[in-house]
Point group: C2
Chain length 401, copies 2
């Protein structure tokens, strides 16, 4: 076979699937909407919308709200997302913590389990993750048929030779380990895996400050640093699923040596690990984000020094992302405690001059994410929901082969 996959054609079936997603997306971004309002927003006929809404209500995904009076004409019945229309499990694995949550369709956390780990290998983590999942299902008594799937977030990059297993910010032994397949085998539930930044971006897009944005970048400050890219209404993952791994871009040529072999990498300056290192802790491998929050609160001078040193590389990274991607905004978040992120953000001004510097903006150039430390678990939980409900080009493609 010499000819490889091409963009494939579409038919009515795919079109219907797309339209259903469009309806859900419209309600998600604009709140409760009447059929007529949806029809106006989506440019579909009101009859079509009526059919789709009926089906979605039938399926439990939408629910009617109180009739709206006060205007002329027949009162409209607004529909909103039915939180109990479906559930998903979000898992997050990092150096010190494994977290699992149950999320409903509206993004509300219904249950949460946390377990300590210590730079876990796959052999250690996989049974734990499976156990967390079944505990969550048991304690929250989920109807199995309403469970949309498991979404998992973990630090990237994935499958990069010579990079994945190196350095204090990477998890060891996960190089080429088929996480999704294995977890699917252990739990019997469909699993989607993304890096933590991408998961957080989805969470922020579905339920947070990026709800209405078409293009934004989520800058995830965790043990290392990564970016989730949401461009033109779609998640961009890159040709090998590693887009946004900007922790290792060089911002200080000849600067601090990095575990990856290069010098002056961004995450040597802006990340939890960078802060720990700067503070001369006795055991940086087991420091915690809360420590940084405490040091900020009491005005520790070494911590202030780290803040001052981290600001310019962060500013430079934002400049690079703005110039390269011209997003509507850059959202900051991650495992870094919210007060620390806000401290960083407040020191960012004046930002560099970039294509983002225009007075015609409606959104600030930099926003702090809404969901706090659980952003990426909730984002992970949103993965199955997102893939089921987001209008995407893929949906219109007929499955080939």
């Amino acid at each position: 076979m010499t000819l490889k996959k091409a963009i494939s054609g579409t038919n009515l079936e795919q079109a219907k699937s797309h339209n259903r997603r469009v309806v859900i997306e419209a309600i998600r971004t604009s709140g409760a909407l009447s059929r007529a309002a949806i029809a106006r927003l989506t440019a579909l006929s009101s009859q079509t919308i009526s059919n789709i809404v009926e089906e979605l209500e039938e399926a439990g995904l939408l629910r009617p709200e109180a009739t709206l009076k006060g205007a002329r004409g027949q009162p409209a019945v607004p529909y909103s997302i039915n939180p109990d229309g479906g559930y998903s499990i979000g898992l997050q694995l990092d150096h010190q913590l494994a977290v699992g949550v149950v999320s409903d369709l509206s993004g509300t956390m219904r249950a949460r389990i946390e377990r300590n780990v210590d730079r876990p290998t796959p052999a250690e983590a996989m049974p734990l993750l499976a156990a967390i999942s079944s505990d969550l299902i048991a304690t929250s008594r989920l109807e199995r048929k309403r469970l949309l799937g498991i979404g998992m977030a973990m630090p990237g990059p994935f499958g990069v030779e010579g990079m994945t297993s190196v350095g204090p910010t990477a998890l060891p032994g996960w190089q080429d380990f088929p996480v999704a397949d294995e977890l699917e085998r252990l739990t019997g539930i469909a699993v989607t895996v993304e890096n933590d930044a991408t998961a957080a971006a989805i969470g922020e897009r579905l339920y947070g400050v990026a709800r209405k944005l078409g293009s934004f970048v989520y800058l995830f400050i965790g043990t290392g640093l990564g970016a989730g890219l949401f461009l033109d209404g779609h998640l961009y993952k890159g040709s090998r699923h590693n887009a946004g791994e900007i922790g290792h871009i060089i911002v200080r040529p000849g600067g601090l040596p990095c575990g990856c072999g290069k010098r002056g990498c961004l995450e040597r300056y802006v990340s939890l690990r960078a802060a720990y290192d700067r503070l001369d802790l006795p055991d940086p491998d087991h420091a915690s984000p809360e420590l940084l929050e405490k040091m900020l609160a009491k005005g520790d001078s070494r911590f202030e020094a780290w803040l001052a040193e981290a600001v310019e590389p962060l500013r430079q990274a934002i400049d690079i992302l703005e110039m390269a991607l011209d997003p509507e905004t850059v959202v900051l978040g991650g495992f870094m405690p919210l007060p620390v992120i806000e401290a960083l953000a407040s020191r960012l001004e004046p930002l560099h001059l970039s294509v983002s510097a225009t007075s015609a903006r409606t959104t600030p150039r930099v926003l702090v994410g809404a969901a706090g430390k659980d952003t990426s678990v909730l984002g992970a939980a949103a993965l199955p929901i997102f893939s089921e409900t987001n209008p995407q080009f893929d949906v219109l493609q007929k499955p080939v082969g």
Copy 2:
């Protein structure tokens, strides 16, 4: 009106339009194909393909090739893009040169006109561009109804306050000038405007080395430096049409001062202008790329020094693009003469370790563009063709309002 545009639904009409584009795209990327082969590639039924091919042949966009014998069964009739199915005009404006070309559907240049300019203002350039267009139409005796439109390429960024009109690499006076509208008024033909890097990316994708790629970055080395981003099968332009303006990302903190106000911008090291400046020319505003080609040929030591200094910032830029976007490849091109680009490319190895460094690659990490110095004019000419024939998410969206 508080509710803004949402992603809109689709219907049969849009689906058909999409499928037509998919057929053209399949033939463009894979060469002449029989109806049956297209059906297999696109996952559409052979009957559907037959209908679409018939229509496209009727419209003059496809033409049958010689019947293929030698296999069992009824001989297949391959169809290919009919070069005479349509024409477009490509315009390019830069500091010293205005170029216009006529391109046919296959991307072949049918006519070319060149005029010298000197950092032209809109008032100077617009009549000239209109004149070039009408000369091209007259001399190549184009059927007006086969003319798909005018595509124009010029240096970005567009409409950025405090950045567009500053520095020796920007064209003065174009800030907020409505180029497309004005040229459309003067010529009576539909006009699309993109920055030179984006235009070059399209050219390379339609007719050059990126023909089969789903995600790549085109690095355009011109008077300044810019990138064209083709991601997941789509051109990414950014929320304010300025994605890829990476000439002003900081690669050397505290480095050479730049007209934009920052220090150590990429294009202060890698661009025609950077080379001219490094060579202490008496009049860098009127130097030409050919000069650099000559200096390379005779092994000029100052030029060699520039090459040596430019390589690391370029490597760093490629690293950043690879890490941020995980493209299949980075294509180098622009106004910089081909031998100089090749000289730079040959000095790039070893590239930095990035997510692109995997043995599972099918394409080299860096490629030199195919179309030479006319890449971006040809790409500009491809703009109207591209927007008429590329499968895009937009096509499925019903026009709203």
